[in-house]
């Protein structure tokens, strides 16, 4: 009954030290304790871990004594019988006991450490402990991952989307909206045309190439947000005019001038900038030269004043025959030249442009503004009696006659019945309960009505019929009796007195006695053409100027139209000059540290670019501007010509 114990220890140089002992006893103790027969120095081993007992020759039982099992043949057991001939192994902690038959029936046990001891600190680990390589992926790997992620997600994916995209589908509502001609007065006055403020969502969700967008699209183009190729049609080619004109048709946005004249009038693009533009195929005068997209919700319409003055600053030197004066900038904007009626006509009035100073207009109407603006005279009296609206000062307000149009830009045409009829009611007789009145604008009818009325009174006078005086200065006064004679002569005298006497036609109109035998054709009323747009090349939205210099209402009107309260004749032109505009537009605000202008002073504050071709030379009769192909013209330079 003996054991041969061979304990194997590793040397520092890697070699083995084997110590062999022969123990003549039937039982062996195994453990960490120094008193054990087989001492296994590792804390994972119990002080007295197990006991080996040689039961018979060639048979050994192992039994744990420390409560911690041993591993035999891959199983953890607390007790096992082993046949030595089968060369069994027992694993205790990091050690392995290999049993084999020894000489003379002894059991040979080789104890060997099979799990290397824990090296809490190892020189080989210096790098991983003291440098970050032990705690993070390498810089190189992170660089590859990050770089490739950016390239794939933000370059390749959008690129394949662009390449794979077919013909862009444009939203129908947008196309329809864009094809609509621009109406004048579309909200000028703040340097921006009114563009849709609603921001329609783009249908179809996110497109990968949206990640290439340099900024938010304008509201008007918002529904193209995921449709890049709607505008960016060819790779490496700047957005072409054709892409814009797919929606913004030429009829909706006409040329500013004939293309040939535009090319001639444009300031040549020279120097480094010109070289750069030609090198990168960015010719001048493209839509995108002025209109910059991807700049935020409302900026696509914003264009620099210099885009206008580049050409218009010295236009005459390049385009000798132009009728447009040079405008180097707002500060040197020439004074206005008003478009005035030079020859009134029922159907074809003639307009002429003239400098404002000393300008006279021939509207054909007799209308002194001053007496209608008085607070004390008979007009004011009459207005009060008629319960007409009163201005703050008690006079008839400007807005009684000058009613804002629907855009609040200009005014509705003056209408005799609506604006004058309350006082100038054309009543000529009281007939029982009925006040008989004359039709305005129909002199032949008037002559006939007066003649027939007078004749009927001569032949069959009726009770309760009373002629009325036209002279408004003496209310209640009976009209002078008609001269005697036969009824025909009396009728003729009545007609003559209507057309030539005080208080009726001649109050406002120039009446000519043609001496014609036909009484209804004898008197001719001079034609009247009332101007409705003195400065048609620009836009002045009156609605945005309701207060001026802290004045409102009537006072605001006359703050600019200064001469109007003293104007005795209708030939006066009460249009303010450009100096008047400059009091606010471009003038510095009256606050400390602020250089912001009180009001915008860019060209498009008043002028539109896409208004069609401006007329050249003298304005044609009728001022219908045949050369203007669209835009303003459609807005009705509808002349009203009250007869």
């Amino acid at each position: 009954m003996s054991f041969i114990v061979r304990q194997v220890a590793k040397r520092a140089d890697g070699g083995d030290i084997i110590r062999t002992r022969t123990l003549v006893q039937a039982e062996l103790t195994v453990g960490r304790g120094t008193d054990c027969d087989i001492q296994l120095a590792d804390l994972a081993v119990m002080l007295r871990h197990a006991r080996l007992v040689q039961i018979t020759a060639g048979k050994v039982s192992v039994e744990t004594t420390g409560g911690v099992p041993v591993e035999v043949g891959g199983k953890f057991v607390t007790r096992a019988d082993l046949a030595v001939a089968e060369n069994p192994t027992i694993d205790i902690g990091p050690f392995r006991l290999s049993l084999s038959p020894g000489e003379d029936g002894a059991v040979a046990i080789t104890a060997e450490r099979v799990v290397p001891p824990i090296e809490a600190a190892d020189a080989a680990h210096e790098t991983s402990i003291f440098s970050l390589s032990g705690a993070m992926p390498t810089k190189r790997r992170m660089a590859w991952v990050g770089g490739l992620a950016v390239l794939v997600l933000l370059l390749l994916v959008p690129l394949f989307h662009f390449i794979g995209e077919g013909e862009p589908a444009l939203p129908q509502t947008m196309v329809a909206e864009a094809a609509r001609p621009v109406t004048p007065g579309q909200g000028f006055g703040d340097g921006k045309l009114s563009v849709p403020t609603a921001r329609p969502a783009a249908a179809g969700g996110f497109a990968p190439d949206e990640s290439w967008s340099s900024g938010m699209l304008s509201d008007a183009h918002a529904s193209l947000s995921n449709n890049c190729s709607a505008c960016h049609q060819k790779a490496f080619v700047s957005v072409t005019d054709g892409a814009c004109q797919a929606c913004h048709t030429a009829s909706a946005l006409p040329d500013h001038a004939a293309p040939a004249r535009m090319a001639k009038g444009r300031l040549p693009d020279g120097g480094v900038m010109g070289a750069a533009h030609s090198a990168f195929n960015l010719p001048q005068g493209r839509c995108t030269s002025c209109h910059k997209e991807h700049e935020g919700a409302a900026t696509v319409m914003t264009v620099a004043e210099s885009f206008c003055t580049d050409c218009h600053g010295g236009l005459k030197s390049r385009l000798a025959d132009t009728a447009v004066a040079n405008v180097p900038g707002w500060a040197k904007h020439p004074d206005f030249r008003a478009t005035l009626v030079s020859s009134p006509s029922a159907d074809k009035p003639v307009f002429t442009r003239a400098a404002l100073s000393g300008a006279r207009e021939k509207s054909g109407l007799i209308y002194p503004h001053d007496i209608h603006q008085s607070t004390t005279n008979a007009v004011a009296n009459m207005a009060q009696k008629q319960r007409l609206p009163q201005g703050a000062d008690g006079a008839l307000p400007c807005s009684y006659c000058h009613k804002a149009d629907s855009d609040q830009v200009r005014f509705k045409p003056i209408d005799m019945e609506a604006n004058c009829g309350a006082c100038h009611d054309l009543a000529f007789a009281r007939d029982g309960g009925t006040v008989r009145t004359l039709p305005h604008g129909k002199p032949a009818q008037v002559a006939g009505i007066i003649r027939d009325f007078t004749l009927s009174e001569s032949f069959a006078p009726r009770a309760g019929v009373q002629r009325l005086s036209f002279d408004r200065h003496l209310p209640g006064k009976a009209p002078p009796p008609l001269p005697g004679g036969n009824p025909a002569a009396r009728a003729q005298a009545a007609v003559v007195s209507v057309f030539t006497g005080k208080g009726l036609c001649t109050e406002c109109h120039v009446v000519t006695d043609t001496g014609a035998a036909d009484l209804t054709r004898r008197f001719a009323i001079a034609p009247v053409s009332i101007n409705d747009h003195y400065l048609p090349q620009g836009q002045f939205p009156h609605g945005k100027h309701k207060s001026y210099d802290a004045k409102t209402g009537q006072a605001a009107c006359v703050a600019c139209h200064t001469g109007v309260t003293k104007s005795k004749v209708s030939t006066d032109v009460n249009i303010p000059g450009v100096a008047n505009c400059r009091e606010c537009h471009g003038a510095p605000a009256k606050t400390l540290l602020s250089t912001t202008a009180k009001a915008g002073a860019s060209c498009d504050t008043c002028h539109g670019f896409h208004d069609g071709v401006a007329p050249t030379g003298a304005l044609p009769a009728g001022h219908v501007q045949p050369a203007r192909v669209a835009g303003r013209q459609a807005a009705g330079r509808s002349r009203q010509t009250p007869a």
Binding site: L154, H232, A276, S306
Partner: protein, 301 residues
């Protein structure tokens, strides 16, 4: 007399001659009396002046002439700055010294904040262009962070480790481990488990968070030490001090001190290195984003 005059003249001559500047111990920040700092400041001021003196409509951005100019300069600078990684691997290449190159890298890199940001015209959004700008800013700020660390940490690093090398720090811990292992042999299972905790569950460096925070309270050694201290204290109160445990306590305390020194070292080294783990990979991502930015801008012109 004559020789005396000569001598004094010679001395005068010596005094007038300026001693050559000791540039060997001059850092890259002071290289050539801040030549590149001046260049960078000039570039920034000129860029800012041009930005303020021009008034493009509707706004400043990368698409104006100034925007293209600043963008071209900026892109060129980014590529050149990233080539420091190549230059430093080519040791001793001419004509510029690595120190001069580093000095230019730092100062021109800082001026890129101005050039790159003015190039954007402050028009930022969720797109590849702003991504490139943001990555650029991360790279620059991480570089700035790195420089500030280099200005303060090496001194403290040196003070912390005294004359000890990294390997010696590890060796000290390993020696203590061996001593612990031997000292624990006679212990019973519970106490042996505590020592094993110190031996097997002790990580000197640990995760990135531990390296940066220096918080190793849950580490094996700290836990083992806390328990052992408690046991020893209990023993002292009852008057039956286990000398073997007291020995273990002593060793664990020494190990904790050795760990603390190593971990302070690791913490500072981590800080010195971590900025590069941002700086370098983000630079590569920036180069990728820059490529995507430039291609996309001209593709969708």
């Amino acid at each position: 007399m004559a020789s005396k005059t000569q001598a004094s003249r010679a001395m005068t001559g010596k005094a007038v001659t300026r001693a050559p500047r000791d540039t060997a111990h001059e850092g890259f920040l002071n290289h050539k009396r801040g030549r590149w700092a001046k260049v960078a400041i000039t570039l920034s001021v000129v860029a800012l002046g041009a930005y303020l003196l021009t008034d493009p409509v509707p706004r400043h951005n990368g698409g104006t002439w100034l925007g293209y100019l600043l963008g071209s300069i900026g892109a060129g600078m980014i590529v050149w700055l990233s080539l420091l990684g190549v230059r430093k691997r080519v040791i001793g290449s001419k004509p510029f010294s690595l120190k001069g190159w580093t000095s230019a890298h730092v100062y021109l890199g800082l001026s890129l904040i101005v050039v790159g940001t003015l190039h954007t015209g402050f028009q930022l959004g969720w797109n590849v262009h702003t991504l490139a700008w943001a990555l650029m800013m991360i790279v620059i700020l991480s570089g700035l962070w790195g420089i500030s660390l280099y200005a303060t940490l090496p001194e403290r690093l040196s003070a912390n480790r005294g004359e000890v090398t990294q390997l010696q720090m590890l060796e000290a811990i390993r020696t203590l481990d061996r001593q612990l292992d031997i000292a624990a042999q006679p212990l019973d299972a519970d106490d042996a488990a505590l020592v094993r905790m110190s031996l097997e569950e002790c990580r000197i460096a640990g995760s990135l968070g531990q390296r940066l925070s220096g918080n190793y309270a849950n580490d094996g050694n700290a836990r083992a030490l806390a328990t052992i201290i408690e046991k020893v204290m209990t023993g002292r109160r009852t008057g039956r001090v286990d000398d073997r445990l007291a020995q273990i306590e002593f060793l664990l305390e020494r190990k904790e001190a050795a760990l603390a020194q190593a971990r302070r070292h690791i913490r500072m080294k981590t800080q010195l290195e971590l900025w590069l783990y941002v700086h370098v990979p983000v630079t590569i991502a920036l180069l990728a984003a820059l490529l995507a930015h430039i291609i996309s801008v001209f593709l969708y012109w």
